[in-house]
């Protein structure tokens, strides 16, 4: 399934030190992606947690540019077009690391356009389900029922945190563009994640990786538990590991999708503390429906 970690170069492409929160999984996403891609990489990141983590202590050692919040994909498209025009495109990976706000909300238009036009880039969205860099406000990918800084829940059983509806399904939206490669990945499964980044880099066209990225600070769990929460999201099928090629669902990683109750994921996080049993059941139903939907979409070969 995954790649052999020993096969990766020892070279670290991130400098010493850190300037973000302790326990941050978003910075792991960026570190792992750079590890897979190597030094011939230009990295672009939209405003967000990775910017806070990455541009003071512990900066990337590859060319790095902080894009405007709505424009990570369009800036990358310009780099792609510029390098192509100058005959310098070959051998360079264009890596975008952007949060869910910069991807699913304000950046969706630019990403959709860049994907539809077929620019070659590897777009990795670290989805920590909210505007965590600005204090944990609700985003379009915030989990159903979760309390956030802008959708606070005062009492148990009170009004829903997120409000109506379920989180925006970015992987399916990107798969619907019919681009060469879309996958979901997890920091709890680094070998699988690295394989997917390398696969994305090998394709001549846009690719999109969506990584559910636990935020200990705003999801409400101890800073040492980020990987366990990420793993639980996969195991409960809240965030299953899936791959699409040319718009067709080609792989669901069954390993570890053992379908344990969503309640186990929910109880790890204080942002769900107010949930009643019925509300937890709503989340369970959403996970079940998503799982059935994905299985039906799988290409039989």
């Amino acid at each position: 399934m995954g790649i052999d970690l020993k096969s990766l170069p020892d070279e670290q492409l991130v400098g010493v030190g850190r300037s973000g929160c302790a326990g941050c999984a978003a910075v792991l996403v960026a570190r792992l992606a750079l590890r897979a891609l190597g030094p011939q990489t230009i990295m672009i990141s939209a405003t967000g947690c990775v910017i806070s983590n990455f541009t003071h202590a512990g900066s990337p050692l590859v060319p790095f540019m902080h894009s405007l919040l709505p424009g990570a994909a369009s800036l990358t498209a310009g780099v792609d077009a510029g390098l192509t025009a100058l005959g310098k495109r070959a051998g360079i990976n264009l890596l975008v690391i952007a949060g869910d706000g910069g991807t699913a909300d304000i950046g969706l238009q630019a990403l959709s356009g860049a994907a539809e036009r077929g620019h070659r880039f590897i777009y990795v969205c670290y989805d920590n389900e909210g505007y965590m860099n600005t204090g944990g406000q609700r985003s379009g990918t915030t989990s159903h029922e979760a309390t956030t800084a802008t959708t606070p829940v005062a009492t148990a059983g009170g009004p829903q945190g997120r409000g109506a509806g379920r989180k925006k399904d970015m992987p399916l939206i990107m798969a619907a563009h019919g681009i060469p490669y879309v996958a979901t990945a997890s920091v709890a499964y680094p070998r699988d994640f690295l394989r997917k980044v390398k696969k994305a880099a090998s394709l001549d066209g846009p690719s999109y990786l969506h990584v559910l990225t636990p935020c200990n600070y705003h999801w409400g769990f101890a800073e040492g538990l980020s990987i366990r929460v990420a793993k639980m999201a996969v195991q409960t099928r809240v965030a299953p590991l899936v791959e699409w090629e040319d718009g067709r669902l080609t792989n669901i990683s069954f390993q570890d999708h053992d379908g344990r109750p969503v309640a186990e994921y929910v109880k790890m996080q204080s942002r769900f503390r107010h949930l009643t049993e019925d509300q937890v059941n709503v989340l369970q139903t959403q996970a079940d429906m998503q799982w059935q939907h994905l299985r039906r979409m799988r290409v039989n070969d």
Binding site: P39, I42, P63, H66, L68, A77, A81, G82, A85
Partner: protein, 405 residues
Amino acid sequence: MSRQYMSGCQAVASAVSLAEADVIAAYPITPQTSIVESLASMVAKGTLQAQMVHVESEHSAMSVCVGAACVGARPFTATCGQGLAYMKEPVFWASGLRLPIVMAVTNRSLLGPNTIFCDHQDSVSTRDSGWMQLYAETCQETFDSILLAYRIAEDARVQLPIMVCLDGFFLSHLYEAVEIPERESVRRFLPKVPGRQPMLDPADPKLLNVLVPPDYYTEFEYDKHHSMLQAATCMDEVFEEFHGGFGRRLSRIEPFQLEGADIVLVAMGSMTGTIRAVVRAMRAEGARVGLLKVRSFRPFPEAEVRELLRGAKAVAVLDRSISFGSTGALFQEVVRCLYPVEPKPLAIDFIVGLGGRDVGPATVCKAIESTQQAIVRGRVDRDVMWPDARTDLLRRWGWETHDGD
């Protein structure tokens, strides 16, 4: 050299093609569309080797230009009106990153109510963005301005983006004969700067656009401001070299019959052609009027304007924009220039030509008449007048109108 009959839009495209832009990113908006259509046709025919990026918005158009410029490519975009407004975030960003991007703006008024026609409200609203701005009067001037724009923006002393503004429809869709130079002479005038290092380069990794604390920000702004001032000197040199190479003399400011002029009209863009004709006709009748055409709005030719207006009894600025509750943009600049001048000329701002209203000789004459009356009275009663506003409509809307409005 050849002489071709073409529109303002086609003149832009022709110059961009001769400038050999590497990346063209644009989103369609009337009346800019035929610029991009012409360029797309050149790329399709193979006469222009450029990457066309058909972006989904103006925000992305400018972001693509930024990305392309960061790796050392020569970008181009064009927009106007709502498009320029939508683009505003990366417009400011591009100058802060010191990228020599060239953008054509086919000036168009801003909504609402809905409009597609010409005024300068769009480009004037980006006055403080750190972009240079040239305003063209003719198709030839439009063509020349694009070539000049690349050369000035890419100058090491400047390194700022630049807008070439041409009035929507009045100039973008006006057909005139344009002299097109040979490709080789353009290449000599406009070499792809070999010494310029790309900002994003795996061989030399850098962090771009990182958070700057208050300890540094002021100095970045100071640097931008002084580079903009330095751009004036650079423009003068480049205009001179252009004259030597192509035989046409452009300047940041163009005086017309200012000798002994009691009244000087100041304006930008296509209406200067009409004003020149009025001035010429009135001079023939003995009236002491002149025209000062501003080509470079940023950097503003402050010293030149001050000297050229010294001795005038009154200055009449014709503004195709309005800062609501204040004055038009050009008037503010001109009045600032006049502050140290003694004796001070009277100064009146005439708001004209908004939303595509034609600035014909009647409007210009009316402005001159109002200015003459001020000279006779020895004072300015109202320094902002609307000579082409429809008094019938305004009265129905309950506004008291005055003579000269």
